[in-house]
């Protein structure tokens, strides 16, 4: 075989391998495990406003996951509660978030993260009460978007609460906590969000499984212009 043909074959093989690696990394770091959900946007006086309803559950259940015992976030969509953690949001929008937490407390490894910040007023409403500090021992999960400086701890359901939720999706009749806050999305970007509570039962330090798999306790905000 002539040298030129050999070189061409090598170049083509390297290019193909490079493209495949690029696609793999791109898929791994962006949408792997969960398709993006375009959250409905309202227009209020020319300003985009989003109402985001999410719930956190101790066990996602067999209807929503092949890993029914994994802890997870769910989002309310037009088709009901879904296990989707990659959300499309408009830039410079006001996002009103309501979190229904049906899970018990695990506690924060870093108690500082019990200080809500990055949302409007650096305050959250817990069951209707304004709160600027969540007892780290009572934290069940956090909702944090580090690149936006947004973090808040979500208090858990009491251990002895009646009518606790088994498998998700959990009806509102089950014991839960309600957390509300508002934040602004700012400039377009691709922001990851995550839970900081080591809440993955059965994994070393509680940080494996659902904590390391997009579509459960982690996701992205695709903030688009």
């Amino acid at each position: 075989m002539r040298v030129g043909i050999k070189l061409l074959l090598v170049a083509v093989a390297v290019a193909v391998a490079g493209v495949m690696i690029g696609l793999y990394v791109s898929n791994l770091t962006t949408l792997a495990g969960s398709p993006a959900y375009a959250v409905p946007v309202q227009n209020v006086n020319g300003h985009p406003v989003v109402n985001l309803e999410i719930q956190t559950v101790a066990a996602v259940g067999p209807k929503l996951s092949p890993n029914p015992d994994w802890v997870s976030y769910l989002i309310r969509t037009q088709d009901g509660w879904q296990r989707k953690t990659v959300w499309d949001l408009p830039a410079n929008a006001t996002v009103h978030v309501t979190i229904y937490n049906f899970d018990g407390a695990s506690g924060l490894r870093n108690p500082y993260l019990g200080r809500p910040q990055g949302m409007v007023g650096n305050q959250i409403l817990v069951d209707g009460k304004p709160t600027d500090a969540v007892d780290p021992n009572d934290a069940s999960h956090t909702f944090a978007v580090p690149a936006l400086g947004l973090i808040l701890a979500i208090p858990g359901v009491a251990d002895d609460a009646k009518n606790q939720c088994g498998y998700a999706p959990c009806p509102m009749a089950n014991a839960h906590r309600t957390i509300k806050f508002t934040f602004r999305t700012g400039a377009p970007g691709h922001y990851r969000w995550q839970c900081f509570v080591p809440c993955a039962a059965g994994w070393i330090f509680g940080f494996g499984g659902p904590m390391q798999t997009i579509g459960y306790m982690d996701g992205f905000l695709n903030v688009k212009a």
């Binding site: 506690g107 021992n137 973090i151 900081f196 059965g202």
Partner: protein, 297 residues
């Protein structure tokens, strides 16, 4: 009909080749080394964001300048060999003349390489001890800056997947922002709450591993106001590629203003943080082995 390959011509006088290679090497070195030292060396990261970073740039400048003659020799040698000794079309491949020892060349080779390596070892050691290299030195640093006792302490806490910062001289206040006063010797105490991370403040020339239960100390002397890109430099899980933020070197007045604002924000959680560890708190310490791991297996 195939033709017989012709025999290679007899080897020329190799001493002429040697002289040509040496002359070409000296000329190329005389041109390339100053260019590399003046124009390429200063461009090598991390820049001049701190005294230590500036020292790293200088070290890189010296090393690339020393490497240049070696690189030039290789380039000249290979280029000359390709041009002068390549086989002609249809020329039979014949073995060259036998190689024989030349003790002068062997001694010269050993002396030159040993001198270079020993010089670089001495130079590197001196540079490390002079200002510190910005690297983590463990809990008991050997290379201490002259006024290290006056260094401004900042604790860096890594956790999956964010760095937070505590300021012991501000009552152990914690923040998710890295703010540094300008023209100040800072001592970073780097630790982790879970996996192994690495605190890499690029423009400051600081890189220190964050290990659970370890206080990894790194000194750095800031210069003027600037933005510092902070990254985790140790693969630490799903969000490792997103474990980055910006730090800021700011004038002292700005730092004081920021500290007051951050302290006000911290006030509401302070009581919880300062509780005993057994009650879920984390009073300031150089290392933490936090509970809970309630759900961990």
């Amino acid at each position: 009909m195939a033709t017989e390959p012709t025999a290679a011509p007899p080897p020329s006088d190799s001493s002429n080749d040697g002289v040509r290679v040496v002359v070409a090497w000296l000329v190329l070195t005389a041109i390339a080394t100053p260019l590399v030292a003046i124009y390429v060396g200063p461009l090598i990261p991390p820049g001049n964001g701190s005294v230590q970073a500036q020292g790293q740039v200088f070290s890189n400048q010296v090393m690339t300048s020393l490497i240049t003659p070696v690189l030039c020799l290789m380039v000249v040698f290979f280029a000359y060999g390709l041009v002068k000794f390549h086989a002609k079309q249809r020329e039979a491949a014949l073995d060259g003349p036998p190689l024989r020892n030349d003790s002068r060349i062997q001694i010269l080779w050993i002396v030159i390489t040993s001198t270079m390596v020993l010089f670089l070892a001495g130079f590197g050691t001196y540079e490390l001890l002079k200002d510190g290299a910005g690297g983590g030195q463990g809990p008991n640093p050997v290379a201490l800056p002259a006024n290290h006792k006056a260094a401004y302490p900042i604790q860096v806490i890594g956790q999956q997947w964010q760095f937070t910062y505590r300021y012991p001289r501000l009552g152990g206040m914690e923040s998710n922002q890295l703010m540094l006063p300008e023209n100040t010797l800072v001592v970073f105490h780097v630790t982790s709450l879970d996996a192994i991370h690495s605190f890499w403040a690029y423009e400051l020339g600081v890189k220190a591993d964050a290990n659970p239960g370890v206080d990894n100390v790194a000194y750095v002397e800031t210069k003027g106001p600037m933005t510092v890109h902070v990254r985790c430099a140790e693969l630490c899980g799903l969000w490792h590629p997103y474990m980055f933020d910006n730090g800021y070197v700011v004038p002292h007045a700005t730092f004081t203003h920021w500290a007051a604002h951050a302290a006000a924000l911290y006030q509401s959680i302070k009581g919880y943080v300062n509780r005993p560890t057994s009650k879920g708190g984390a009073p300031f310490a150089y290392t933490y082995l936090p509970e809970p791991t309630r759900r961990a297996g």
